[in-house]
Point group: C2
Chain length 140, copies 2
């Protein structure tokens, strides 16, 4: 990994740590605070601007059950002051049986660097079928 990729990986990890710990002030640190940011929660329409996005995290943290969050299959791309990270979020609800499969979400996270700090500007998460195998054909 380049040093840029390492810094982006750390920013991405901070996002998932904030998600797991349901820590709104940590989420405040992760995101850029302006009208340009966007967020698509799984199955949802896009939220526009930091105030809408922040409110959604506030609601999620207030209402959702506790969970463990992992992030797999990470690919990191950096070009100048923009980075995008893709991978699979694994959410395991607290109290789930050891046999229970975690919920799996495909994620695309876009970061921009301002004054040397990478901030999240777009998050797109979506459910996907775990039974899809390499040989199946996607239907668009």
């Amino acid at each position: 990994m380049t040093s840029d990729e390492t810094a982006v990986a750390a920013a991405n990890l901070a996002f998932y740590r904030a998600l797991e710990t349901r820590d709104l002030s940590a989420m405040d640190q992760v995101w850029l605070h302006d009208e340009s940011v966007g967020c698509v929660h799984p199955g949802w329409h896009r939220l526009n601007g930091w105030s809408e996005v922040r409110r959604s995290w506030e609601n999620i943290f207030a209402n959702a059950r506790r969970w463990k969050v992992a992030f797999e299959g990470v690919r990191i791309h950096v070009l100048e002051n923009v980075a995008w990270v893709t991978g699979v979020e694994l959410l395991t609800l607290s109290g789930a049986d050891a046999d229970d499969d975690p919920a799996r979400m495909q994620a695309t996270n876009i970061f921009t660097r301002r004054d040397g700090v990478w901030r999240l500007v777009h998050h797109h998460g979506s459910a996907f079928a775990t039974e899809t195998a390499e040989e199946d054909e996607p239907i668009n």
Copy 2:
């Protein structure tokens, strides 16, 4: 719109035109051809690299029914040589009744500029519930 945004909008439109016309050679023109590109079709795992991504379009164009494609709620962001476009894809199957709602997909498209030309490097499409209203709470 800035001239950069106009150029990105044109590249994004070319992607949806290629999708609507099921034109693989047009799709070839839209995408960057290297191992870094990625594509998440709705409900699917991420495809990595141009050869996998191209094969998926080949399969989709061979198997899917004809459709009309529109793209709404477009937001375009450009920073240096990276751009990201978000919006809602509306797919109307050919022969659908006028009353039939189109399928709606949230999309995140990332482009990079090389030698002055914007190429698609990442596409993430996902279904979303049309009944979600602004006052509902997303559950992550």
